[in-house]
Symmetry: C2
Subunit: 353 residues, 2 copies
């Protein structure tokens, strides 16, 4: 009675017939309902295996079963960061029986449609720019009761998985203090950007905690770009010279590094430099960049877990979940790892690309 697997797929009707039961009973077995006689369930399971039966998603979803699909909206530019995030998300999704629909472009225009069409039941957003437009979308979704969570940047008070920026800044300051740096420049992002502000606050806090006077800190506003890191470094490099520079992100740290290269300043001998993000390029710079690493993969798993709990309990109140960062010490702060990456590459059989 095994049907030709080539000719169409088996349906629940085929299974029911094969074991002499009704579709309803088969359905109950599939969905793991309690009230089915064990012997009956076994017969059904056998028939399912024999026929290589797979319940049709669309029929299930149509009749109220739910599509078990979520939309993951990522901006395209995140590259490796976004791949790691996706891995974390997928790991949890897979465990919980969800599939993932991904969009990296124009998701602002498509998100609602995906939901309206019944294609996805909820969303994870990694929003980074255009806060007003995101805010509008999120408000609409919230009003309609669509489950979603944000990754990375909080906006409004929607459920969000964010970084402990204060803690990251603090750790870096404590490390700077250990190195004995007294005069430091903080190359800030946009002065009104929450992440940058928190990194700065944490940095001040840690610096004092490390026994240094916060008077030794100069803050220079920028805009996160490599260019602005370069420019801010140029401004920072005035009398009295800083011992070290902490940039609000790695791109700005790279800009600062380029300035030093151009001026013939040695890093870390003349000035130490550190960043934030542990961007993919940071370990390849010369010297390799000391930085703060976000727990990217964990952000993914946490976000997906949060979304799933929201899917199951839409009324649940979820606020902000704050994830701790890690200090990554490389040569640019003066730690003796200079070009040590070489041996690491060889040992791990470095999996570049």
């Amino acid at each position: 009675v095994v049907p030709d697997p080539l000719s169409g797929k088996a349906t629940i009707e085929d299974v029911a017939r094969a074991c002499g039961l009704s579709r309803a009973t088969v359905s109950r077995v599939i969905n793991g309902e309690a009230r089915v006689k064990p012997g009956t369930a076994d017969k059904v399971k056998k028939a399912i295996a024999d026929l290589d039966y797979h319940p049709n998603l669309h029929a299930r979803a149509l009749s109220g079963g739910g599509g078990n699909t979520v939309g993951i909206m990522l901006p395209g530019i995140w590259r490796s960061y976004h791949s790691v995030l996706l891995e974390g998300i997928e790991e949890v999704a897979s465990q919980e029986g969800y599939d993932i629909l991904v969009r990296t472009k124009n998701y602002l225009e498509h998100a609602e449609r995906l939901f309206d069409e019944g294609r996805v039941e909820g969303f994870l957003f990694r929003n980074i720019d255009r806060p007003e437009e995101h805010m509008r979308l999120f408000s609409r979704l919230a009003r309609r009761g669509v489950p979603f969570a944000l990754i990375g940047d909080a906006l409004g008070d929607f459920p969000a998985i964010v970084l402990d920026n204060v803690g990251g800044g603090r750790m870096m300051a404590l490390h700077f203090a250990e190195h004995g740096f007294r005069r430091v420049a903080f190359l800030s992002g946009p002065p009104d950007h929450a992440d940058s502000i928190d990194r700065y606050l944490g940095f001040r806090m840690g610096f004092e905690e490390g026994g240094k006077s916060p008077e030794g800190i100069v803050r220079i506003d920028g805009d996160y770009s490599t260019r602005s890191g370069y420019d801010s470094m140029a401004r920072a490099w005035a009398e009295p010279r800083p011992d070290a520079v902490f940039a609000a992100n790695d791109r700005m740290a790279l800009g600062a590094l380029l300035f030093c290269q151009e001026k013939g300043l040695r890093v870390p001998e003349d000035v130490a430099i550190a960043g934030f993000d542990d961007s993919f390029f940071s370990e390849y710079l010369s010297p390799p960049l000391t930085t703060v690493r976000p727990p990217v993969r964990v952000m993914g798993t946490t976000a997906m877990r949060t979304l799933i709990s929201l899917l199951r309990e839409p009324a649940a109140k979820v606020g902000r979940i704050i994830l701790p960062t890690t200090l990554v010490l490389r040569a640019s702060c003066g730690c003796a790892f200079s070009r040590g990456s070489a041996s690491a590459f060889l040992q791990d059989d470095f999996n570049g690309e």
Copy 2:
């Protein structure tokens, strides 16, 4: 008559009622069928807009409309490569009205289920390892008539979008010849790996074409790993010394570079080095690595176009599509770009991470 958008979604029935027509007619308008009176169509469209109606995917798919979703199966380790690929794929998918289901892990086990459940109608695979298992899966899918295409590595004679490895090797050889290199080492991947073989063949071809004797080429087999690049370079660095080294991939080129660093050899003064892939780290090495760049984004768009044509015409015969590569000249081959990346970073407002 505008229903509260909060309370459930409008159905085709709502639209039909709103304009006093039948569901069939509304359906025809939605699907752009010809035989509908223009005036009627307009009324329907207005009602659709008024009610903010979106056809339910599952109902559509169930009644034969097709789910317009494809599965993209990528190995997790590709990082930035895989993001760019996805962008290309998504661009075309979006234009053609398809959505994308992504899996980066365990897709070998899940691919068939995704199809069996009706979740996806076809696949794009970026397979890189375990050829036997992939081969088994692909054969089964082909037997069942499931549309799919491979990206990057061809396997069997399934539809595949591949790189012009011969052409890439040839371009590098021609460039080496211009530099006047006469003795060169080719650091090969596994001796039976098609990509590596083609890169080698192209290289020989180009070297001769450039007026140099292929006798000057030494080939050393490896396995693509950084470690093996290091070891092969150690073997290559024997009398008579090579002027230049071409590695079958950037990871091996990195290994070669590490060997040189350790031995105090200057690159490119003592020996030039080039790779293949333009891996994300290649431009950050010191010196930045000369390499061959695959058209990653175009591979994505081409793959998706191919899949869509297969979806529409399952019987169509699609073979291998070979895409050209680009030579990327940086400092490691002796071109005067030494550390020139700096200015490039600043000009483009380098979008790292």
